[in-house]
Subunit: 213 residues, 8 copies
Amino acid sequence: MKIAPNSKLVMIGDSITDCGRALPVGEGLGPSLGNGYVSLVDALIRTAVPNANIRIINMGTSGNTVRDLQERWQTDVLDLQPDWLSIMIGINDVWRQFDSPLQKEWHVGVEEYGRILTQLVATTRPQLQGLVLMTPYFIESNKSDPMREMMDSYGRVVKEIASAHDAIFIDTQAAFDRILVHMHPMFLTWDRIHPSVTGHMILAQAFVQGVGV
Amino acid sequence: MKIAPNSKLVMIGDSITDCGRALPVGEGLGPSLGNGYVSLVDALIRTAVPNANIRIINMGTSGNTVRDLQERWQTDVLDLQPDWLSIMIGINDVWRQFDSPLQKEWHVGVEEYGRILTQLVATTRPQLQGLVLMTPYFIESNKSDPMREMMDSYGRVVKEIASAHDAIFIDTQAAFDRILVHMHPMFLTWDRIHPSVTGHMILAQAFVQGVGV
Amino acid sequence: MKIAPNSKLVMIGDSITDCGRALPVGEGLGPSLGNGYVSLVDALIRTAVPNANIRIINMGTSGNTVRDLQERWQTDVLDLQPDWLSIMIGINDVWRQFDSPLQKEWHVGVEEYGRILTQLVATTRPQLQGLVLMTPYFIESNKSDPMREMMDSYGRVVKEIASAHDAIFIDTQAAFDRILVHMHPMFLTWDRIHPSVTGHMILAQAFVQGVGV
Amino acid sequence: MKIAPNSKLVMIGDSITDCGRALPVGEGLGPSLGNGYVSLVDALIRTAVPNANIRIINMGTSGNTVRDLQERWQTDVLDLQPDWLSIMIGINDVWRQFDSPLQKEWHVGVEEYGRILTQLVATTRPQLQGLVLMTPYFIESNKSDPMREMMDSYGRVVKEIASAHDAIFIDTQAAFDRILVHMHPMFLTWDRIHPSVTGHMILAQAFVQGVGV
Amino acid sequence: MKIAPNSKLVMIGDSITDCGRALPVGEGLGPSLGNGYVSLVDALIRTAVPNANIRIINMGTSGNTVRDLQERWQTDVLDLQPDWLSIMIGINDVWRQFDSPLQKEWHVGVEEYGRILTQLVATTRPQLQGLVLMTPYFIESNKSDPMREMMDSYGRVVKEIASAHDAIFIDTQAAFDRILVHMHPMFLTWDRIHPSVTGHMILAQAFVQGVGV
Amino acid sequence: MKIAPNSKLVMIGDSITDCGRALPVGEGLGPSLGNGYVSLVDALIRTAVPNANIRIINMGTSGNTVRDLQERWQTDVLDLQPDWLSIMIGINDVWRQFDSPLQKEWHVGVEEYGRILTQLVATTRPQLQGLVLMTPYFIESNKSDPMREMMDSYGRVVKEIASAHDAIFIDTQAAFDRILVHMHPMFLTWDRIHPSVTGHMILAQAFVQGVGV
Amino acid sequence: MKIAPNSKLVMIGDSITDCGRALPVGEGLGPSLGNGYVSLVDALIRTAVPNANIRIINMGTSGNTVRDLQERWQTDVLDLQPDWLSIMIGINDVWRQFDSPLQKEWHVGVEEYGRILTQLVATTRPQLQGLVLMTPYFIESNKSDPMREMMDSYGRVVKEIASAHDAIFIDTQAAFDRILVHMHPMFLTWDRIHPSVTGHMILAQAFVQGVGV
Amino acid sequence: MKIAPNSKLVMIGDSITDCGRALPVGEGLGPSLGNGYVSLVDALIRTAVPNANIRIINMGTSGNTVRDLQERWQTDVLDLQPDWLSIMIGINDVWRQFDSPLQKEWHVGVEEYGRILTQLVATTRPQLQGLVLMTPYFIESNKSDPMREMMDSYGRVVKEIASAHDAIFIDTQAAFDRILVHMHPMFLTWDRIHPSVTGHMILAQAFVQGVGV
């Protein structure tokens, strides 16, 4: 595994990451990691490498865009002094442009998205042993759907940033696409965003493959 | 208006019709008509023709397919002795084939759908002054999406039955399509089925236009 | 329609406007516009002119008199920088004089009502593209009922202010009176103030006719 | 006092009587008499004649018409073997004709009202030491309001039945009218039916004066 | 009645006065006077003298001793600028000495009780048109019960203060004693302090007789 | 200890015994013995004789009189096949005569009390290895209080039955009296019936002394 | 994978299987599989073999012993006509002997356990394409703990039955033991029975390895 | 008894002490002492020495380690000016090292534990008439379990501090060990920490024996 034993891994993101994690810091006794992919990543690593002692902290917050990450970066990432960091952000940056088209001040365009994410990554990467960047996704098979098209463009931005800053790149959209060959999106999720346990397992397995578990 | 003064109109269907209506019979003091299109139809008729005294009863039940309508037809339609009847069914008949593909006994195929709906309509139409048949719909712009394609085929069955049994035909899918030209489905609904108030207003206006208010 | 495309319309008032809107600002995902006439206005405009992209914000607060509007005018109107504004206030100004006759400091007499409303309108009108003033109302057929008489006098004040400040005037009392010819007030509301969906539809239709939808 | 010591008094009626009384029988420890006029009657008698030991049982049920009383007469009156009985019924018989004009099967016209009430009184009176008949009422000053007019006609029926069957007659409408000279109905109640504690005290005092406390 | 028309009467005390009154000020729409003797006083005065327009405000607070009254005297009495004031305090001053004998700092001995109450009365009386002082009470027939004996001594202090400061004196203990001749304390209350509606009616009638209604 | 190892002890009674025990049978995982004296008896025996393996089942039911015990004797005592049985009943038999003097059919007089209790004991004793009879009590120091006097007479009946049927007699009233020398009843309980943990410890210690632990 | 495409797999057991599954049948929309190992098995199979279309039904019930399985075998297993069946039972059979030692009728000894389980397996195996038998477990490292020793003996019974009836044998105790080498039981669970997500992942991975995914 | 009459005893600790005590100070009317050993100590002392008038205050807080005690020592011990003090702390200091091994900043090692506890005791002892130190415990029979071994070492530290500072030493672990000879830990508790009423009785009896009741 690429993550060294006894490392601390902070995983930050939006509602897909959050999933009811503990506040203000997502770790501790009980179901403090939430019931999404973060909890599955923890269980998969723990069972695969039981003596690695990786400490995982869930810092996802529902509804967040990359702007919200920027605002809470000091307290929710830097102050925790992580060895490793994973970021999955962008779904709400895109979604609000389609479900709330009139509230333009809520939209985070692709240029601003790239700029803020680059800035966060560039200033933080030197302090990290490793960084994982996960793309946002849209569980929609039709690649010419306007929201799917826009989400793909945000994913390409993530790929470029990962490449430029020595990050492990996780293409969550590709992971979903592989399984959508076999089933309609409705089987995984009604709103094409918040998936079933199967969807979270797809995300968790993409992550653990990315870090070499 | 095609509905004569002092008529009793029963409106039956699934969750789109139900919307929290009163049980066991959807009328009475308070918000007994639910908070969906039935309530809007009631208000639109009441304000347009305040002396018509049309009595509207909401008999929608969440999750229903045409099979469920058949089972409760005696108590929930015939026993109420309506002058007019409206039916909007089929969404769950189709949806389960996509969100629950493995539970095949939950699926109502298009042949069975047409057969049961025809039987209900044929036996009930003679006792009615008027009948309104509303298509099921899927708030999806991509007409080659498999679920949209299947939903359209169920809508065509409704159109044929309406034509064969002297019913007013309401093409709810066409009503949604007209507005989807201007906005992404996410603006109206996250799951492409349960719409916002705007979506229910589209349904209510299609209905009142159909009955000539 | 008199409201230009892409305009922002703020609607302020009391419980008739509020109806459970989101806090602190009445817009966003879900039923944030409340379940009263504001939500119906939004749906009627959206379906009638789907490409107009009017953005509607509900800023009603239950129990408010014109004094309360004055106190929250900066944050709840000016800070939102509306293009259009609608105001419906006065019901509680009158009602407290009848249901709480002994608490005289809660009463807003007609002179004070007119003075405050004039001041709010006069200072705000120049920054607006359009203003809509809706009268308060009392769903009571008996025009010599003392509370009805007083409410009518407040409505006349609204009419004068509308005339003096280039506002669209909506006579909600007249809209209710037209329908009360055909039914007893008890059919629309038990307390003669908070109406059923039909009553809210009357308000919404009066509004959209006023703005030319 | 006309009621002999150690008598059992059953008080039956609708929501004005009910007021949250205990089920299935309205007596016992705690606030089992409800928080309306029955509880005040009990307290007024208890304090005025502390050694009379009158036992009061509240058998009111919200929403009841005289038809509902007839259905539960055996279990809720006769089986309790009262020495004295009071009846206050008719408000819902009238009200439904105004708030639910289209549901004609819910209406109890004045002829049917008189017929059923007469039948109940005639068959029960011989087993009673005393009977109290209280009129229904409408807290509305305008005597030409259609619902007030109809309520008054039901009250006249009660007066006739009382006269014909040796019952103490309590004119609750007159009791309210005396106080409405000094205040608008809104001071006592928003819906003109369910009063404040002051309104229940008016009813209770009318009752105790009627039975000579 | 000794209280002049249009007077404002503030009634302060402990849980017997409080009974769930509105916060922070015990008046307004709905059951804001609580469901104890204050509400009955209001109803008895309102029905007896419907044009007197006495405004009653309930400022009782559960658990209060005279020390607590002193602390909130400015905001809860003086700031309200009452014309008339009633005070019923002392039950908790005594009760804590019996149910919490070890927590001596919670006890308010008779000397301190008299001193604080005198100070409150002496400084406030000049600003009042009238003052009503009600004794504390213990619903216990056995006058040699130690808690009854102590409560009686606090009542005598109230009597002296009333006499010295031109206050109407209400002997609530005597009012209860008169009825306890006819029944065991358990009939009125399980804990000998918080009474049934009958007990509150005893208090309310003692009050209205005291002020001459 | 008089109770042989591995015995099953059923403890039946009213709310003092019940204290929230599990239904339908008061034993099992969690706090199934309730939080009153039964639970303390269990803990005291368990710690004093940890290898005795006495199985205790709480069958108390709030509000019960001896009549209620009789009705459920078959299912709640005999069907459980106890080796030992304890009974504490009579408080409600007496209490209703004082808090509900008018509901005479709720009263269980001392003659009926003795007759039913004797019958239950006489028919069951032969099947038991041991029987414990606990008196009812009233936490009142004044022995001439009418309710105390009556409770004492019921206790004497229990003593006689115990003597006649070879039962261990527990005088709970005497146990309370010993401690009331040092404190007012209010220290143990507000209603003189339902005690604090100290009161339940008094009952539990009286029990374990009676059975020789 | 040993399970053929389109098979139906029923998984039955106790609270470890149940985990809040849907009632009466554990499948359908939403989290109907519960949040334990069954849900993880479903997700692992779904992602590993997305076109296999295995249908999984969770029929676990909290607190069950093998006796309870026997009672509901017809409705909860046979009526569902599974192709494959998995059984994990025995934890409560053992646990009650330690946490409820006195309630001997709740204990299922190893002989009865083996007899009932053999009977269920023997009669059902012929109708199945495949059967999976999972041992009960105790997350305790100390193999000489009496409860651990007893649990191991029940596991050996499962192994023998699996061998005799052509079932896939899953040694869940061995799976936990492998990970307990690296951590204290408190890390996985406070009560040594109900594990964290990591513990459920251990169970799920043991299952999918057993069936060859 | 070693504790003089009229003394004030503060008992501080973690969740075993807390058990739902009143906040901010654990005394007063109702179940303010919580439902654990503190409440039993109070009842045992009160019944054994009813005229001793010992005042007991429960200051336990769930989840506390000795570090947390140190932080709240001024407000929660010193400000209360106790005559006697009891401390039972250390369970969480140890437990976190086993259930949260990766969160090393949550662990309180034995050296730090001894240092802080010594400092608290040394500075407070002079102001006290008496001090009781209770060991932490682990309800586990296997003395070579790592968590049991560590807990025993913390208990030895408590013993040394007690000896050095003239404190009464209560060996709670020994008290549990004596009873564990006769039963498996599962009989007393599922998590080996939070015991049943029997377990709290063991603690309470150890305490009262220690102080000579």
